[in-house]
């Protein structure tokens, strides 16, 4: 059977890990197969969890989150017959598939929407743990905002510097409050479980918010502008589908590959005007075709339009 290991945010973070969970569930539902999943409580358990699953003959083993890369790099060689997949991480091992997303592209799109939806001309970004990956979100977002409204200001905050930042709704809420007080009227939460607090506060304060990873529009109908979809669910589904003969290497899930996207559904259709949609679709097309290149923070660890 395949197995899925969630990162610290936990299975039900309404976001990244939950997306993975959804993918696994969908697979189980469609194929009637069974899988095993584990949540991490601390860094040091990662290795034990991977080894235990491998020893138990689970295959393939999908891990969500960059934090597994270093451990996987150690463990994978010990189980050559087991296939591993890592989402958001890059591991160079013969039996490991590294799945990378182009979050900056998706974030660019929702950034444009934010820029257009904002009346105050100030929008917020609440990151989870302060790591290059999240800065990639923020940087793409800022580029999108400025593309839509060149004199808009982007207020960016990170929730924290440790994995607990993935799971601190209270702090997320307070940060959102602070950003609102700085005039932000659209807030993009790229913070896993912390985002719950961000969206909550935004809804309480009657401003718009943008969800991440999963489609979070439903959480506060009419108050979530959109969600930056990171199709982790698809990635997991495909990996499970491939089963033991999962082909390894690197897989980049960008806009073109349908790895990232923005969510439009009954909950937010009233918020998205036609010209907003057209503008975003145009940009998306340009990105797919490659004539518009969104700067990727992790390419050079710097962002031209935003300082964190």
């Amino acid at each position: 059977d395949p197995a899925l290991v969630y990162d610290l945010g936990g299975k039900f973070d309404k976001s990244f890990n939950e997306a993975a969970f959804m993918g696994a569930e969908r697979w189980a539902a469609e194929t009637g197969g069974s899988y095993r999943d584990i949540e991490m409580q601390s860094e040091a358990q990662r290795e034990q969890a991977l080894r235990r699953l491998a020893e138990a003959g689970q295959n393939p083993i999908v891990t969500t989150g960059f934090a597994f890369s270093s451990v996987l790099n150690e463990v994978a060689p010990d189980y050559p017959d087991t296939k591993f997949a890592i989402i958001d991480g890059f591991v160079e091992q013969p039996n490991v598939l590294s799945i990378l997303f182009a979050e900056h592209e998706g974030s660019y799109l929702v950034g444009m929407l934010a820029g257009m939806a904002s009346e105050s001309g100030t929008v917020g970004f609440v990151g989870g743990m302060d790591i290059p990956l999240i800065r990639r979100f923020g940087c793409g977002y800022a580029q999108g905002v400025l593309a839509a409204n060149s004199d808009a200001t982007v207020v960016a905050n990170m929730t924290g510097t440790t994995p607990t930042a993935w799971n601190d709704p209270v702090r997320g809420g307070e940060i959102t409050q602070a950003q609102i007080s700085q005039g932000a009227d659209v807030v993009y939460a790229a913070a896993g479980g912390t985002g719950v607090g961000v969206l909550q506060t935004a809804a309480d304060a009657g401003i718009l918010s943008i969800g991440v990873d999963s489609n979070q529009n439903y959480m506060h109908p009419g108050q979530v502008l959109t969600s930056m979809l990171k199709r982790v669910d698809n990635a997991v589904f495909d990996a499970f589908e491939a089963g033991a003969d999962l082909e390894t290497g690197v897989m980049v899930m960008d806009l073109a590959a349908g790895g990232v996207d923005w969510a439009l559904d009954e909950y937010n259709e009233d918020l998205i005007t036609d010209e907003m949609r057209e503008a975003v679709d145009a940009a998306a097309e340009a990105i797919r075709s490659g004539e518009l290149v969104v700067h990727n923070y992790t390419d050079d660890d710097s962002c031209p339009v935003l300082s964190f």
Binding site: E47, L133, T162
Partner: protein, 364 residues
């Protein structure tokens, strides 16, 4: 405590034993209450922890951590100092190990181990020394200060890992990997020498032997050296110690330095032996488990060793439970809490009846 008389052996063996049994009974009730079968759970834990050399490996790995932190608490307790700063001291110890392993070239692991142990001890001791100093010189309650220092240590390491030690390009807040030369021999490699097969997948390593050695040395220090004599005298009665010319300042400092050093040395196991790099929260609460271990072990190195193995079993068994059942890993935290509660705070609950029993037997 109660002024009733109770033979020493009973106080050292019976009381903790019954306390632990009580703690386990209640834990079983908790398991039952969340709809799982305590018996099955226990079997699974024992199986997972002792059923295979893999289980043993992890059990002993955790035990090694707890021996160090347990000894740290125990030594401090001998001087009536309640050092709950093991967490922070072990964190700093990890920093010491990382600096030694990353910034110096090592031809062979054995040299690295010695140096790393020293670095770990040094950093741990330094972190414990400050609260110790504040206690004797400024009368700041050491329990509160050590708690505060745990948080400060967490913030400090956090900042170092995020802003200073993290290799560029790496995302997770962790130091670079240590060079392969400093990789400590794992237990299976050691056992191979004697032709004993052992799981290669476990992190148990040579630090285990260092921990056992530490037990012996601490015992010797406490009951055979003058410093140990002074520590115990100071712990039993400060006025008497002063009368004897044992300077409270000196002893408190010695004790906190030793305690912190022991806590810090845990890092050679989890940082150098297992992760091979410095991670956030690598201590994983082992500093606090040290309290339970010391209490159960009645602050005696041998008792600490046994208690540490028991908790190693709980941890490994608990990990297995979390893996294969719906019982979350936090169940272990509950058991740990109950052990601390019954052996540390509710010990009279057991002692008084036992004392009454002995009183009756004495009369008849």
């Amino acid at each position: 405590m109660s002024n009733r008389r109770i033979p020493n052996w009973a106080d050292v063996v019976l009381v903790p034993l019954f306390s632990v049994v009580l703690a386990f009974i209640i834990s079983a009730i908790v398991i039952w209450a969340i709809g799982e079968d305590p018996w099955e759970a226990t079997k699974m834990m024992v199986q997972g922890a002792f059923g295979s050399s893999y289980g043993w490996g992890y059990t002993l790995y955790y035990a090694t951590n707890f021996i160090f932190t347990g000894l740290a608490v125990a030594v401090a307790f001998q001087a009536r100092l309640f050092n709950i700063g093991g967490e922070g001291q072990a964190t700093l110890g990890g920093l010491g190990v990382a600096l030694v392993c990353l910034h110096l070239p090592w031809p062979h692991w054995s040299l690295a181990l010695v140096a790393a142990s020293f670095g770990a001890a040094l950093f741990g001791a330094a972190w414990a020394a400050i609260p110790g100093y504040l206690q004797v010189r400024r009368g700041s309650h050491i329990v509160i200060t050590t708690i505060m220092f745990n948080f400060i240590a967490a913030a400090l390491l956090n900042w170092l890992l995020v802003s200073v030690m993290r290799p560029s390009g790496s995302m997770d807040p962790a130091s670079a990997r240590f060079p392969p030369e400093v990789r400590l021999p794992r237990l299976h490699e050691i056992l191979d020498v004697f032709g004993i097969p052992f799981s290669r997948a476990t992190p148990a390593n040579i630090s285990l032997l260092v921990a056992i050695l530490a037990c012996v040395l601490v015992w010797y220090m406490l009951w055979r050296t003058r410093l140990g004599y002074q520590i115990r005298a100071f712990g039993q009665s400060e006025p008497a110690a002063q009368y004897a010319g044992i300077s409270p300042f000196r002893i408190t400092m010695y004790v906190m330095l030793i305690s912190g050093a022991l806590a810090g040395m845990m890092a050679i196991n989890n940082v150098m032996g297992e992760a091979n790099r410095l991670l956030l929260n690598a201590v994983e609460g082992a500093g606090f488990i040290g309290i339970a271990v010391a209490l159960m072990g009645r602050n005696h190195p041998f008792g600490v060793f046994l208690a540490a193995v028991l908790f190693g079993f709980l941890y490994q068994g608990g990990a297995e439970l979390a893996l294969w059942t719906n019982i979350p890993r936090e169940l272990i935290v509950v058991i740990q809490a109950l052990v601390i509660l019954f052996t540390g705070a509710l010990d009279n609950l057991v002692r008084i009846p036992i004392a009454a029993l002995f009183a009756r037997r004495r009369r008849s």
